[in-house]
Amino acid sequence: MAADTRAPSTPRRTGYGLVYLVLAAVTALELWITTLGLAGSVRTPIFLALSFLKASLVAAFYMHLRSDSRTYLFVFILPVAMVVVFGLVMLIR
Amino acid sequence: MNLRRIVTLVVLAVVLIGLGVLVASTVNLMPEEASVQAQMVDRLFRLLMGIATVIFVAVEGALVYAVVRFRRRAGDDTDGPAVHGSTTLEAVWTAIPALIVIVIAFVSFRVLAASAVREAEPVVVEVVGRQFTWEFRYPEADVTSTELHLPVDRQVRFEITSDDVIHSLWIPEFRIKQDATPGRVAEMVITPTRLGRFPIRCAELCGAAHAAMTAEVVVESGEEFAAWLEGQRGAGLPVSPGDLGRRLFSQYGCNACHTLADAVAAGVVGPSLDGIGAAAGSFVPGLDARAYLEQSILDPEAFVVEGFPSGVMPPNFGDRLTGEELQALVDYLLSQ
């Protein structure tokens, strides 16, 4: 457990608004890419990267992981890492 | 550490390792070694036994020694020394086990690789597990049997799958085991080295008669094997309907669960079929022996005999038996 004493800060509303705009823009971008009919090998990594970006933005700003105690971050990261490991293994038949 | 202590430790270590070597080289807990792979596995197993002996005797020995040597003397209410640890010691007993397991992992990997080496033109045997019987197909010879025959000193490649639930093909004398999973074909190679008959057992729980799902592997000379294959192919055209029925009775695994003297079957999962021909007509009013038997084979749940579990006999014989086969089987049973 990281003994972290930083108190939760209060992000400004504009911070929230900016994040929202980025999330919306990225989603629009994703929808646009689907129309390009790219090959799966190209499409897949792009989409994974973009969704990782979106998820991280929500977790970091809307769930305050950026400013909150690192304990919460640790609590969230361990299972996410495990899911990635498990998911990758399950891709192999 | 003073000299005396060092000497004691060295002596202890030597004795222990000697003991380990002794156990590894003399104690044998495994069944007969009947395949090339078995020899490899047993070498590895003996190594592990040696290491295990050293660790076991060392730790249990230290435990017993401490219990005897450091027990509280009567009337002594003082505490022991305030020792909180020893970095050196902790480093040692972290490093040594780490080293040991790395070695074991490496050796295991080598054995695994060696035991899976493919040789040219093996005997291919397709294995199908079914509740509660094994079926062995020889595609080249177009032969199907419930008894596994293998030539000695020639590699066999099993292609193992299942028709219903998961089974596991285990031949202890070969030191191999492979699950038969429906929807998958698992490959496994083995090279028998010893003539004789060895048991085949299902090692994965597959239902009520799991314990009865056994078969035999016959390892024979190349000539005998070829002759057997030839004979099996011939067996396609039986001499008398009785023989056909008798072979169907074991080919479809009836013998796994039912007792029938004529077919040398002694299963106890389902009711005995000795004298069934005479009795079959008397079970269900208005149903003659033939109808009763046919229905009991096609729909096992129709009449479950008192004292025997329902839902055990596979319900799919209707699809698996051809019309002729069904007739032959019923005729055969009626003749019993």
């Binding site: 004493t5 509303r13 929230y16 608004g17 989409f47 969704s51 929500v58 495990m82 498990f86 | -």
Partner: protein, 197 residues
């Protein structure tokens, strides 16, 4: 270990010194278990998507679901706006944003219901194929979480309307937000692996 006289109110000092609120930590741990639960379902879905591909996957409509994704993202925005409002001390702001959130959540569920029914009309059902089974199970459980989120938002709304929460006391709103954003993140992932990839 020795004892000194301390009033009970001082009891939990060591924990507090980490700057960790135990309700918040509890919710985060709950979310951790939720991550693993969805992880199991997602792994099952991907396993079949890769190893037992089905033509039925082609029947999914990306534009419709894309719109739904916008809606859910927006609802996350309204939730943080509500939190910001109560932190400023504006309970009316909180009530307003929570109502919008509930509305958006309801629209998302309506959209999902429409998607499901049209898929059923095209013959994609829970029993139609391994794809159908894993698709409806995965998205269905997410929808269920959105529904629970709506109920949670509703109870938070009622409490706010009854005068609970203030500049200093907004933990209840914050933990509801954590749950809602988590459900949003799950959707971001599902949208990618089910519809885009």
């Amino acid at each position: 270990m020795t004892q000194h006289t301390l009033p009970h109110s001082e009891a939990f000092r060591a924990g507090k010194s980490l700057g960790i609120d135990h309700l918040k930590l509890g919710v985060w741990l709950f979310l951790a278990s939720e991550v693993m639960f969805f992880g199991g379902l997602i792994a099952a879905f991907l396993h079949y998507k890769v190893n037992a591909p089905s033509s039925q996957a082609g029947l999914l409509s990306v534009p419709l679901v894309g719109a739904n994704t916008f809606i859910l993202l927006t609802s996350s925005f309204t939730v943080v706006q509500g939190l910001a409002a109560i932190r400023r001390g504006s309970r009316d702001g909180l009530v307003r944003y929570l109502s919008i959130t509930i509305l958006l959540g309801a629209i998302f569920l309506a959209g999902q219901a429409y998607e499901f029914s049209s898929l059923y009309r095209d013959g994609v059902t829970l029993q139609s194929s391994v794809f159908g089974s894993s698709f409806f199970t995965l998205t269905g459980f997410h929808g269920m979480h959105v529904f629970i989120g709506i109920l949670w938002a509703g109870s938070t709304l009622l409490r706010a309307a009854r005068g609970r929460y203030s500049k200093e006391d907004y933990a209840g709103v914050e933990v509801f937000g954590l749950y809602w954003h988590f459900v949003d993140i799950v959707w971001i992932v599902l949208f990618t692996i089910i519809y885009l990839v």
